[in-house]
């Protein structure tokens, strides 16, 4: 068992070595001869320690392959071999095979390493031939013949051992100290050693024993020439012989391996040295450096993480409990003060009365009164100071718990370089395969993410990188034709923004072809013809992540089996992240992944329905909509027996959470505060406040509020995102934003689609975490019908040429109109929020700074004389966020365009028309944005 554990550790360690070798090999290939000796040595040492480690376990195939590679690497270091692409290919293949063997270390016997050895052979053979040449040139096998005390040592055997990469040691064993005192026999020692190496020769020092008398108590010295793959720092442990009795014989070879050169003139005696003097020292200093970190099982970390989460929850409960107790106490305390004051007053008035009319009876009563006061004081006085002491320690528990949790979380963080480091190889191989030149640039490799995210990130990222290399970056000749550098650039960057990590994969390739995407999407049935016409460029680009989409004209084995990007998106979303595409046709594509730092603690929205609390991860929440009680009938419609909500001209399917979870519908009676059963079939079934409703009219006349118009009867809709579709979840109440600790679902709840996990709230109650995707699935929402419906509606609008026109001014006499579709949002802003950089204005919102433009800077219109303190900002549909400052927004009107283009015209202006009796300049937002984008200052 212990052996298996050791083997497991070794595999782990070797995997790390292999991962580190790959980038080094690539650098070696790139920089060829100019590469530093240190780098080659590093690769050499890594391969060497793999060989040594598995030598311990006698896993032959690993040793064989590693030895071949080591052999070649030593030749590279000695500048006997030039680094060529074929050579790196061969070495990389070897690394790959080693990795395969690491994955299945118990069955390496069945793995065929023939092909790898064959590709390595040509480079190796040169080594062998050269070695034999030196042998015949040089003095005849100098090493073997000079080992003192071993005149019979077989030189061929020794040479064979040396060539197979073994270390050759001369080991002295003392019969008493090393054998007898350890309850061993020479035979046992020989058996043990033969497991870890090859005994080349043993001699007994006959001079130790002069005569028979006392011979059995004399110490007898054995001298053993031993060949093993065990490294000098391990041999002592392996053989159970102290370091100072072990001498490394082929140090010359080793010193060549570890340092650059040793003069060949060194004679044998100088080369061989006691291990404890030379070999041991560097090993020690290295192990000191390694001691800084420690291997810990992930399961242990998971447990720690869980416990810390538990602690956080307990702390929250404690704090809540304490605060409640404290306020109770304060209240009681004030009651006590009141009571105390009353008694004191009674005492005073009683004393006064006694002074006037002294009687022994009254005196007794007075003294009774004093006693009551004292005993009351003793019983009920609160040591408030102690409470504040508790408060302080509670606060420190609070802080420590937070810190503890934070630190435990950090133990799970890994740098993204863990994922990134495989890309140089991926990109190199792809570039060779596709005949492209690609330079990979990676930044922000030290940005850290939770281990669980890192693990799940690898596949999606690989896909994106492959896509960029395969579909994005063009062939060198095409690039040259387009006036670009023949070598494409692929950038991989990671950065941290608040609690999120942004990972970007961008290339300077041909970008996404919107026309082709639409054509493809329509043929593949991803979207309909009509909807295609209404899509913004960004929406079109996002289509490549729709299921069943692939832009590749020919499907290559590199990427593009048509499931890729959809799966990437799903994977990223499952991680609680989001993905966005930005593409400039002709100039490249950039894909941005936004990921949470951890999956264990997520910001979420706490909602309640039917008196139960639920958490919804904030990443899935698009917006919150409150439909006022009297608007319910007008805003909620029924289509095909399903309820939908109209939100800014789009129809959203509605899901009532309580219905989905089959909770008994109830309502709280506003007058009695009682929770009562709700008997309506649909919650939009309510008698509207129409004129015929006498009761309502009556109530209104009396100035009484009708229940149906009560604020508490407003419908709360949470707009959730499931993939690219939106839907509304109807809940009773939105309570709070909270960072929740995610607990895995118990086994018996895993089959329910609605939940991703559970959490424990501050009050100790369990709240389930809702899964927006799962809810949509369970509710069996059909988005296509709705889409078609809204499209038809839009289509009608188009046919009638009706436009929704937003009317606004900029603080001058001029009135402007703008197609509402060209705007994403309208925000209010204050002039003090505007920051000036040079002569440009910027607005900062939600940690994003975006440029603010004024219409008069781009169009021939009047400039406002005064700046008002508050103004509106229109956010147009655009690749980059830009704000258009306007003074006031009046209205949205539905109107046909009856444009006059003679009077007022220019780029950015469609024309003018009369709306609501006012001359209104209709702006051309795309053209205006074009002008803005082409303005270098904004770009």
């Amino acid at each position: 068992m212990q052996d298996m554990e050791l083997l497991h550790d070794l595999v782990q360690e070797s995997r790390e070595h292999l991962q580190n070798i790959e980038p080094d090999l690539l650098e070696l290939e790139q920089n060829g001869e100019s590469v530093s000796d240190e780098l080659i040595n590093r690769v050499f040492r890594a391969v060497h320690s793999i060989k040594g480690g598995f030598g311990f376990f006698g896993i032959e195939k690993v040793i064989q392959l590693a030895h071949s590679m080591e052999n070649i690497l030593s030749r590279i270091r000695d500048h006997e071999l030039n680094v060529t692409k074929d050579l790196t290919d061969a070495l990389l293949k070897g690394i790959d095979k080693l990795q395969v063997m690491m994955d299945d270390i118990e069955n390496t016997d069945s793995i065929d390493i023939g092909p790898e050895l064959e590709t390595l052979a040509p480079f190796r053979q040169q080594t062998v031939s050269k070695e034999s040449k030196t042998d015949s040139d040089g003095t005849q096998k100098p090493e073997e013949s000079t080992i003192p005390g071993h005149p019979y040592l077989d030189p061929d055997q020794m040479e064979k051992a040396r060539k197979s990469g073994k270390f050759i040691y001369n080991i002295t064993a003392e019969s008493i100290k090393d054998i007898e005192e350890r309850d061993l026999t020479p035979q046992k020692i020989i058996e043990n050693w033969e497991k870890i190496g090859e005994i080349l020769d043993i001699t007994v020092n006959l001079d130790d024993i002069e005569q028979l008398s006392g011979s059995s108590n004399k110490n007898l010295t054995f001298s053993i020439v031993f060949a093993s793959v065990l490294e000098p720092d391990l041999i002592s442990t392996g053989c159970e012989i102290p370091d100072n009795q072990i001498e490394l014989l082929n140090k010359k070879e080793l010193s060549k391996n570890d340092n650059s050169k040793t003069s060949d003139n060194h004679n044998k005696e100088q080369e061989s040295s006691k291990l404890n003097e030379t070999e041991k020292k560097p090993v020690h200093s290295e192990s000191h450096a390694i001691d800084e970190s420690l291997r810990v099982r992930v399961s242990l970390l998971n447990n720690l993480m869980n416990l810390a989460g538990e602690l956080v929850l307990s702390r929250n409960q404690l704090v809540q409990l304490f605060n409640k107790k404290l306020s109770d106490l304060l209240q009681t305390d004030s009651h006590f003060s009141d009571f105390n004051r009353t008694i004191e007053q009674s005492i005073t008035s009683a004393s006064e009365a006694i002074e006037l009319n002294p009687s022994s009876e009254a005196n007794t009563l007075l003294s009774e009164l004093y006693k009551i006061k004292e005993s009351f004081k003793n019983c009920f006085s609160f040591p408030m100071q102690e409470i504040s002491g508790i408060n302080a320690s509670l606060q420190s528990i609070d802080t420590v718990t937070s810190l503890l949790q934070e630190n435990i979380m950090q133990t799970r963080l890994q740098p993204v370089s863990v994922v990134f480091q495989k890309f140089p190889r991926v990109v190199r191989d792809l570039a060779h395969k596709l005949g492209k030149q690609i330079n990979l640039e990676m930044t922000g490799q030290d940005v850290e993410l939770d281990k669980s995210i890192i693990e799940l990130l690898s596949d999606p990222l690989t896909h994106l990188v492959r896509n960029s290399a395969d579909h994005g970056i063009e062939l060198p000749q095409q690039r040259t034709k387009a006036g670009k550098n023949p070598a494409g650039k692929l950038e991989l960057s990671a950065s941290q923004q608040g609690g999120k990590v942004i990972i970007k994969v961008s290339d300077d390739g041909k970008g996404l072809d919107s026309e082709k995407i639409i054509e493809h999407a329509v043929t593949k049935g991803v979207i309909s013809d009509q909807s295609a016409a209404n899509m913004s460029i960004h929406e079109i680009q996002m289509l490549i992540m729709a299921p069943g989409f692939s832009t590749a004209e020919k499907i290559s084995d590199v990427s593009g089996r048509g499931v890729g990007m959809d799966v990437v998106r799903a994977n990223i979303e499952r991680l609680g992240g989001s993905i966005d595409i930005e593409s400039d046709p002709g100039y490249g594509t950039s894909i941005t992944l936004t990921l949470p730092l951890t999956l264990a603690i997520i910001p979420s929205l706490i909602i309640s329905t039917e008196g139960r609390n639920f958490a919804i991860p904030q990443v899935g929440v698009e917006e919150l909509v409150r439909i006022r009680a009297f608007e319910v009938t007008s805003k909620i419609e029924r289509i095909q027996n399903a309820e939908v909500m109209r939100l800014r001209g789009k129809l959203l399917p509605l899901v009532r959470l309580s219905e989905l979870l089959e909770l008994q519908p109830t309502f709280v009676h506003p007058e009695t505060g009682e929770r009562m059963e709700d008997r309506r079939a649909h919650w939009s079934d309510r008698r509207g406040p129409d004129k015929k409703d006498h009761k309502l009219a009556d109530n209104r006349r009396k100035g009484k509020e009708d229940r149906r118009e009560n604020v508490s009867n407003a419908v709360m809709v949470i707009v959730l995102k499931s993939g690219q579709y939106l839907y509304g979840l109807v809940v009773d109440q939105v309570l709070d934003n909270e960072e929740i600790v995610v607990k895995p679902l118990p086994e018996y709840l895993k089959s329910t689609q609605c939940y991703t996990g559970a959490t424990i709230m501050g009050d100790g109650k369990v709240a389930m975490i809702l899964d927006p995707g799962g809810i949509a699935q369970k509710a069996d929402l059909r988005f296509s019908d709705l889409e078609d419906d809204s499209i038809n509606k839009n289509q009608n609008d188009l046919q009638n040429d009706l436009h929704e026109i937003l009317l606004f001014d900029t603080g001058t006499q001029e009135r402007f109109g703008l197609d509402l579709d060209s705007i994403v949002r309208i925000e209010t802003a204050e002039s003090k929020e505007v920051e000036l950089v040079g002569n440009r204005e910027f607005l900062k919102r939600d940690q994003v700074t975006f440029p603010l433009i004024h219409i008069h800077d781009f169009l021939p219109v009047n400039k406002p004389e005064n700046k008002s303190d508050t103004f509106y900002v229109l956010i147009p549909r655009n690749r980059r966020k830009i704000g258009v400052a306007v003074n006031q927004v009046f209205d949205v009107v539905h109107s046909e365009y009856k444009l006059q283009t003679n009077e007022i015209h220019g780029s950015g202006i469609l024309g003018s028309m009369i709306i609501n009796d006012r001359l209104t300049i209709i702006l051309d937002m795309p053209a205006l944005l074009g002008a803005v984008n082409s303005n270098a200052g904004v770009h």
């Binding site: 007898e180 035979q187 043993i202 007994v204 006959l206």
Partner: protein
Amino acid sequence: MAKKGTNSSSIKTTGTKKTTGTKKTYDTKTKKIKISGSLVGNRVNVLESELLEKLKSIKPEKEIIFDLTKVDYIDSRGISLCIGMYKECLKKGFDFSIESSSNVYRILNQINLTRVFPIKEAS
């Protein structure tokens, strides 16, 4: 502090023996010292003094055969004893050789005592 019981051993000295036929023959000047049991631990010390006695009584002979064919195990002390015997015989001018069981032969051969004096493995 010799262990008693199971590990008892004995030394037998056989006199000259002449055999006929194709097999090995010992001439009159061959003395065989036979040991049985295990050649390990403190027993070796006991054997050592017994052997010293034995050697004293032996008249100058041409060859001494240390017969270990009935010895199963041998440890480092046993090996020291063999070397001690060899050195002693060398001093006294005897030829020295060992006949041993295969078990003992294997270890003596592994530590290359076969290069020092003849060791014969009993079939």
